[in-house]
Subunit: 256 residues, 2 copies
Amino acid sequence: METLKVIKIGGNVIDNPAALETFLKDFASIPGAKILVHGGGAIASATLKSMGIEPKMIDGRRVTDAETLKVVTMVYAGLINKNIVAALQKYGCNAAGLTGADCNAIVSRKRPATPIDYGFVGDVERVNADAFAMFLAAGVTPVVCAINHDGKGTLLNTNADTVASAVAAAMSKSYETQLVMCFEKDGVLYDKDDPESVIAAIDAPLFETLKADGRVAAGMLPKLSNAFDAIKSGVKSVVIKNSAKILEEASGTTIK
Amino acid sequence: METLKVIKIGGNVIDNPAALETFLKDFASIPGAKILVHGGGAIASATLKSMGIEPKMIDGRRVTDAETLKVVTMVYAGLINKNIVAALQKYGCNAAGLTGADCNAIVSRKRPATPIDYGFVGDVERVNADAFAMFLAAGVTPVVCAINHDGKGTLLNTNADTVASAVAAAMSKSYETQLVMCFEKDGVLYDKDDPESVIAAIDAPLFETLKADGRVAAGMLPKLSNAFDAIKSGVKSVVIKNSAKILEEASGTTIK
């Protein structure tokens, strides 16, 4: 089985032009089949504000009304996605930017309006592995933003972490797939105040212990749940690591 | 040789939601290999204004400074392109939205800053026919916006008419290619004030006569020059027609 890396980057890289450039140069040099999934960062909120629209958040999640959907589509699928693709081309990586609508790659379902109406927000329903396989077979690296569609003509804003794990899960039927979740720290820290306390590997029992201890940063828990879900869906391994260290195979926290 | 239609739509369709929806429904039903190229319309200027940026034009052409490039990338490659793709998916046409950066499909050269500095504006240098052929072979319809790249990491804003004819010319090596340029009239009018005076066919000598006469609308002349260039580059036929009549094979003006 051919190996595949699905690598996800978020706002900490997207919002820092120098870090993004370094990351993309590193990413371009990774050999073999790979897929990049990117989040949005702060540019969407800044763009909304420049247009006089106040970003709405509930419990840290963006409420995507019709105007906000237009702006996140512009920023994620246009500005960020196409600049990443152009930069990867410069570094010799033949890339193609995708939303879930392109090639019908990812179909989402609009989240129910109760108890909280998040607007045009989707939950991933189905990943079309054949669409991604077409690009990979041609030596093209898909660059995926977290805008999907419902198959009925409506675009939906989706969480980039769950897009990355859904893509990795779908591809694991045909590829030995590693999911790499990048962020600003070197891995999952045993003590959130000690940047060197990286836990090399976490299995299910240790995850239960860490949850009970309350030592792991709260924001890390959904990422870890997501990682275990990916493993259950057939992904070979999940690594949580620093986006500045993607070429260092030994770095980060491996989930198994 | 398999046949291919390269169909170009501009602002008159993009700016009219009802006309766009009808066009996309019609387009989705066209059998066989096809590529859609779309322009930008008035949304980019409206978005610039909503962000407090005054659109700059010289002789009817947009000056694309760094901020304007960001906005046209957002609007053309994000908002317009992805909504077209989602609508085509709804109508059963498996589409994929592309800039020239995606799959390195279209490489442009930044236009020299003299005599007029149009900023980040490109002229098409090379179309990668293999990139389009990959999609067509998989039954996927490319939807192309007029944002290209220079291969060195910079996106460039390009004229959609010339993108359409360059794509048609490149594809004509492997496909019997028809280029369809859609606009708001039924074809090239012999008398610009008489909407029924459509000229069914124009060859090179008639084009010279029409130019000398001065009866054809001035805005039509670059479209016709562009069409003759496409024919010289191997495109089988060019049809200039109403975007509301793409399913009527006999309508419009054929260039030969």
